[in-house]
């Protein structure tokens, strides 16, 4: 458990360092995600019992963390109380943008997805 948390932190740290050093637009944790994914894929074939145990550990710990992913958004979300005035003036219009934009985007994306995966599905 602790080892898995340590590993995740290390990858995030590496990602942050990478991002700062190369001054990238991609956030550090996302680079950490890519690095961790690569390491997992590269060691996929490794059946050394130590490695497999460690891998299972990381998977379990990550799943635990992700189970509460939505809780992690609450603190920033509460920041809305700082913008109540801005929201009040334009609330309806903002909601209109979100609702309409979301519906159009959903239709568009699903059409594209179907178009590109059609060949496979109908074979």
């Amino acid at each position: 458990m602790l080892g898995a948390i340590f590993t995740i932190f290390i990858f995030q740290l590496a990602g942050e360092a990478f991002q700062k050093y190369f001054d990238l637009a991609i956030p550090g944790p996302v680079i950490g995600l890519i690095l961790m994914l690569l390491s997992l894929l590269l060691t996929k074939q490794n059946i050394n019992p130590n490695v497999t145990t460690f891998r299972t550990n990381i998977i379990n710990t990550s799943e635990h963390l992700l189970k509460y992913l939505s809780l992690l958004f609450v603190p920033i979300g509460v920041g809305v109380i700082m913008h109540l005035q801005l929201l009040e003036a334009q609330l309806l219009r903002i909601i209109a943008v979100i609702v309409l934009g979301t519906i159009f985007t959903m239709i568009f994306t699903s059409v594209i997805f179907l178009k590109t995966s059609k060949a496979k599905a109908d074979e």
Partner: protein, 279 residues
């Protein structure tokens, strides 16, 4: 000293401590989560939205500044970074599927992202929203931390973007099934704005021939697959697992949108318009 004064003293002490705000946040979330489950996962009772409303109401009623609250709640906020790294696990576990459906995933995420920015900008311009609000709206289809980063770079209000992004997620979840059912009959939403959901289709009315052509079990026959342990895991837990998987995909859409929003946001208004129209 009277009891009331003493109680007030305790309050003054506690509200300066992170413990109080952490407890409040987790408590609100647990309550909201219970409510959500009790309602049979009714989309408008999204636990994030409800807990934000609960906590916000408390803060406003007690007259507490957001900075003070965040000073305590930042410990929860901190975990977003590690959680983002942990999102590599759903991708790793679904790697074969990602590779198998790479064309569909890449194309629809890429074009869908561009379309999402374009349509948001267009509607915002038509409704004459002010520039700051528009900029806060543009990144709303990426996961929250990335959306906030984009918002900051292009001159929006990051915390406004956060709430807009969360609302987008809630509205998407609420409308998703409905919108796509209208369009595809019995089908279910799979991929929307970079977030994947499941999508099943019954072909020629033969249930056993129905296939799941979503990005998770692309083209694999459903009856064969459902005997398989992994697949059962997918289908039984499809909401939670695919939601996470969808998050992973969304994160990859992030940098693309980031670059796009940055370039278009920093040029002047007319140029932005051209760029969006080009998209």
């Amino acid at each position: 000293m009277s009891d009331a004064a003493k109680l007030y003293q305790v309050w003054v002490y506690l509200q300066a401590e992170p413990l109080f705000w952490l407890t409040l946040t987790i408590g609100a979330y647990l309550l909201a989560d219970r409510l959500y489950r009790a309602s049979g996962l009714f989309p408008l009772l999204n636990p994030v939205a409800i807990s934000i409303i609960l906590v916000s109401t408390c803060l406003i009623n007690f007259g507490v500044e957001y900075e003070r609250y965040f000073d305590g709640a930042k410990f929860i906020h901190f975990l977003l970074g590690p959680a983002t790294v942990a999102l590599s696990i759903p991708i790793y576990l679904n790697w074969n599927i990602v590779v198998g459906a790479k064309k569909a995933i890449v194309t629809s995420v890429l074009l869908g992202s561009l379309f999402a920015i374009g349509i948001t900008y267009a509607i915002a311009v038509i409704l004459q929203l002010d520039l700051v609000t528009t900029k806060s709206l543009l990144p709303r289809n990426v996961t929250v931390p990335i959306a906030m980063g984009i918002s900051e770079i292009i001159g929006g209000v990051p915390s406004l973007t956060a709430i807009i992004t969360i609302v987008t997620g809630i509205i998407g979840a609420a409308l998703g099934t409905f919108v796509l059912d209208q369009k595809y009959g019995r089908s279910r939403l799979c991929l929307w704005a970079g977030k994947s959901w499941h999508w099943h289709r019954t072909r020629h009315g033969q249930r056993q021939r129905s296939r799941c052509i979503c990005c998770c079990c692309d083209g694999v026959e459903w009856h064969r697959y459902s005997r398989d342990h992994t697949a059962r895991f997918f289908h039984n837990q499809r909401f939670s697992l695919n939601y996470r998987f969808g998050h992973s995909i969304t994160i990859f859409a992030g940098p693309i949108k980031w670059n796009l929003a940055t370039t278009s946001g920093q040029t002047d208004n007319r140029k932005t318009k051209c760029r969006i129209v080009q998209i």
